[in-house]
Symmetry: C2
Subunit: 360 residues, 2 copies
DNA sequence: CTGTTAGCGCCTTCAG
DNA sequence: CTGAAGGCGCTAACAG
């Protein structure tokens, strides 16, 4: 069993290298920055050797201090336990690598206070830009961003008072497609389940798209004098995952509707979850309430395509997560580079993944 | 639609504040560092006002450069898509907040090259310590860590040539408990499924514990002259998730064993997955191969307790992920503080979560 | 081609 | 109690 030494023997600095190579700091600096064509072969080799001998590694902090840029960008995420977030992250990381940035990942864990702290932290570390998957609350702490402050790009959700580029799913189109899928499959009673949506723009858009699609279908059925189609009914249910009591109440209310549908028309009610966390909450409850064959009683589909979707066979709308992350960094890179243009909006298309749950 | 300005108006520096407050940088610095008792009330107030007026925020980079410490620690993770990792992260974050560190999360995405790059990066940013959930490969890039270099703490897996504190699950005990649970439940043919385990210490320990537990039980059955107990049989199957071809072959081989067990003794074979990714791979395959009622044919249990475990009703061994992350930071903090002691090993107990899959 | 000189923003002696 | 001066490690003009 060996002992760990902690008295780190102070890393070599550029001066050490210069001395070791018998030259000045400037030449070493030039070498480091690839201005290798301006150095005599001899000098270059001496520097190279010295660096190797001292195991020298330039101090990024000092570099950043001098140059005024440190290649750091902040990635503020609301919730890492949401698979969506991790997937977006993969795109962000790939783009960062390609463009030479180092992402600082900050996990707010759905807490406003955390979000505030991290934003503050990122500012003091002088990151060159920030990618924000914010909680959605209107937050003073967001002020240093955008508009003359640190360049920022939003992911998935807009934030009041922060006018910045945004990239995310084409929510309206995705939910419309999903709802129409359900209608075509003959589900004429659909319940859209979503977390409290007033403050989160993507949820708001999804909910609105659902209502609109249903309303349009209802109107169409009305005007279809022949009356072949039944008039679809749609309703929005709010599921507040942050409040266990409320969750139980909502679950119970849904159970009643499910039972009423089966006992009445004999048809399955369709539950359309606005995202994966909601879908999981529903699936867990239904499974425990109705048993493993719960899908005989109710159809579930969801925005987001978590790993368990295939396992349980529910239809989903897969988000282009990787592309979202990648694009966000590209936008940010342009802003950091000084691009001046109106704020942009990239709404990427989702993909409907049809599985057994929405079979007739 | 508004335009974004990018020409950030250069943030205020300590000199600006000093000038604005009509004093010297020293006093401002003192104010910032809480040496507030050494300042006259008047001066303190002027500084406070100036800071507010200029919206001044000290530059951490410059601070770090001067002080030689920047409160940054690196968190190198092998795979963020593994729920285990995210859960550990929560503990890490909580501890960092409590101890005043800022974790830089680096995601190697299971690629050695990435791991190398990040390690290098963390070094150049002069992080004060690193928490390493390494890929497990023997890697030159790990050399700057531990022993006289940057303090490091390992999570879950040891790494050859890096002698550092380590914290993780008490793998041996956990797998023993799991295996014994299966035996008690009457499963006498058990297949332990694990990713290639030679190079990853935790997998190695888990596999060994499985073998040992089975062997002991077999011996006990042999010596039980009365012969009441059947002699349990255990086998290890390697599932290489990185190789799709191999995965298919392994799945098929398992199918044959499952069928043989049912057709032979009429008993269900038990599959014991060494972690969640393995369990998911198995569950997805079994579900598609045998249909939604696959659990009638085979019992599945797993180390790790992913979100879909409850949904599908499989028995698991939940890891104390949060505690693991928290403890890792505590260890690291001590090392950073200069604690000199033999390398420590914190093996935290898991928790058996019994669900329907292992019912007789 | 090469070295000298000034800082980047901050903290820390060391004298007032 | 307060401020001036020096330097952390590095880069960017300037001169040679």
């Amino acid at each position: 069993m060996s002992y760990m030494r902690t008295g780190a023997p102070r890393r070599a600095t550029i001066s050490d290298v210069a001395r070791e190579a018998g030259t000045g700091k400037t030449s070493v600096s030039r070498y480091l920055n690839g201005e290798t064509n301006v150095l005599s072969l001899d000098l270059r080799e001496r520097i190279e050797a010295a660096i190797k001998r001292l195991d020298y590694q330039p101090n990024q902090m000092a570099r950043g201090l001098k140059r005024g840029r440190n290649r750091l960008i902040g990635m503020l995420v609301a919730d890492l336990t949401n698979p969506y977030t991790v997937e977006v992250l993969q795109g962000v990381e790939a783009a960062c690598q390609a463009l030479g940035y180092m992402p600082l990942i900050c996990h707010a864990a759905n807490e406003v206070e955390m979000e505030r702290r991290f934003l503050q932290l990122l500012t003091t570390y002088r990151v060159e830009g920030v990618i924000v998957n914010a909680l959605g609350v209107k937050d003073e702490a967001l002020k240093p961003l955008g508009e003359g402050g640190i360049p920022a790009v939003l992911v998935d959700r807009k934030v009041a008072e922060l006018d910045a580029d945004i990239v995310g799913l084409d929510n309206a189109e995705a939910v419309r497609a999903g709802t129409q899928h359900l209608l075509r499959r003959g589900f004429d009673e659909i319940c859209f389940v979503v977390q409290p949506f007033e403050r989160v723009s993507s949820r708001r858009v999804r909910e609105a798209a659902f209502r609109e699609t249903i309303d349009n279908a209802a109107r169409a059925a009305d005007s279809d004098a022949a009356g072949g189609e039944p008039r679809p009914r749609g309703e929005t249910t709010v599921l507040d995952l942050a409040d266990p009591e409320a969750v139980m109440r909502t679950h119970a209310a849904l159970d009643r509707r499910i039972d009423a549908a089966v006992d009445g028309s004999g048809k399955r009610l369709a539950l359309f979850a606005a995202n994966a966390p909601v879908a999981l909450s529903l699936a867990l409850h239904l499974n425990s309430h109705y048993g493993p064959r719960w899908q005989d009683r109710v159809a579930l589909m969801s925005v987001d395509d978590p790993e368990w979707a295939e396992l349980t066979g529910i239809t989903t709308i897969r988000q282009p997560t990787y592309a979202i992350g990648y694009r966000a960094v590209e936008f940010l890179h342009e802003r950091i580079g000084g691009v001046l243009s109106p704020t942009r909006e990239a709404m990427l298309p989702g993909e409907l993944v049809v599985r057994g749950s929405t079979a007739r």
